[in-house]
């Protein structure tokens, strides 16, 4: 049971994101949330496989953010891909600035670990903020 849950993102998080995008009166059945959980995991696997494949062909061992963006685009999530690239570049810029600040205060942190750790702490107020899409606003991947 626990193993299974490890392969899914938490239903609370998934449900929250779903709820945010729907009108206030909307309800979501538990099975719908569970289905969405599975879809997201499948999405992650799908994109990662594609990205990993590319790395493998290019004799690289590490899947990075650019690879994910490329895979998103390659698999038809064009809209998302553009957004993600901008997000990624903004994030990297933020990381760079942070690294420079850290240098000034002479603390020792490694790049990747830093970025990973920063990401993991929700209490840390990061200047890198992104607004969740408004309920009224709509965006769509281009349906083929």
């Amino acid at each position: 049971m626990i193993d299974e849950q490890d392969k899914l993102l938490p239903i609370a998080n998934v449900g929250r994101i779903m709820k945010h995008i729907l009108p206030r009166n909307a309800k979501i059945s538990k099975e719908a949330k569970e289905t969405m959980q599975e879809c997201v995991s499948e999405f992650i696997s799908f994109i990662t496989s594609e990205a990993s494949d590319k790395c493998h062909k290019e004799n690289r061992k590490t899947v990075n953010g650019d690879d994910i963006c490329w895979a998103l685009s390659s698999l038809g999530f064009d809209n998302n891909s553009e957004v993600m690239l901008k997000y990624l570049h903004k994030f990297r810029e933020y990381e760079r600035q942070k690294a420079e600040q850290n240098k000034a205060s002479s603390s020792e942190e490694k790049d990747d670990v830093t970025s990973y750790r920063l990401g993991l702490q929700p209490d840390t107020s990061t200047p890198l903020e992104f607004r969740v899409l408004d309920k009224g606003g709509s965006s769509s991947a281009n349906p083929k």
Binding site: M36, A51, T126
Partner: protein, 116 residues
């Protein structure tokens, strides 16, 4: 129904605090990434962060599409079948077709999914 403005806001604006900087757990994302294929050896620190956002957008997109199905059926509760219908209707969600078909196959409810 494309609104580039929504995305620009996404980049320029700020989270109101409803969702954290990363609303999905990065460690879990990383785990799922590693599970996806044997070829996946190393994952950069930024990759789960990018995914955190990408997944959010993905959930939003699929949810919106599913909601359209809900509305068509004149309901106000989004059901699994609405998600399945949305998947069937959109090409880029083709990779989910088997998944949602399996789901309807192994439904725990003996009767079709209908909520009172």
């Amino acid at each position: 129904m494309r609104q580039p403005g929504a995305y620009s806001r996404l980049l320029a604006g700020g989270i109101s605090g409803k969702t954290g900087p990363h609303s999905l757990p990065l460690a879990r994302i990383k785990k799922i990434m590693k599970n996806s294929s044997d070829e996946v050896k190393m994952i950069s620190g930024e990759a789960p962060i990018v995914f955190s956002k990408a997944c959010e957008l993905f959930i939003e997109e699929l949810t919106k599409r599913a909601w359209m199905m809900t509305l068509q059926a004149k309901r106000s509760t989004l059901h699994r079948e609405d998600v399945a219908s949305a998947v069937m209707n959109i090409d880029i969600f083709d990779f989910l077709v088997n998944l949602v078909s399996e789901n309807s196959g192994k439904s725990e409810d003996p009767q079709p999914v209908t909520e009172a």
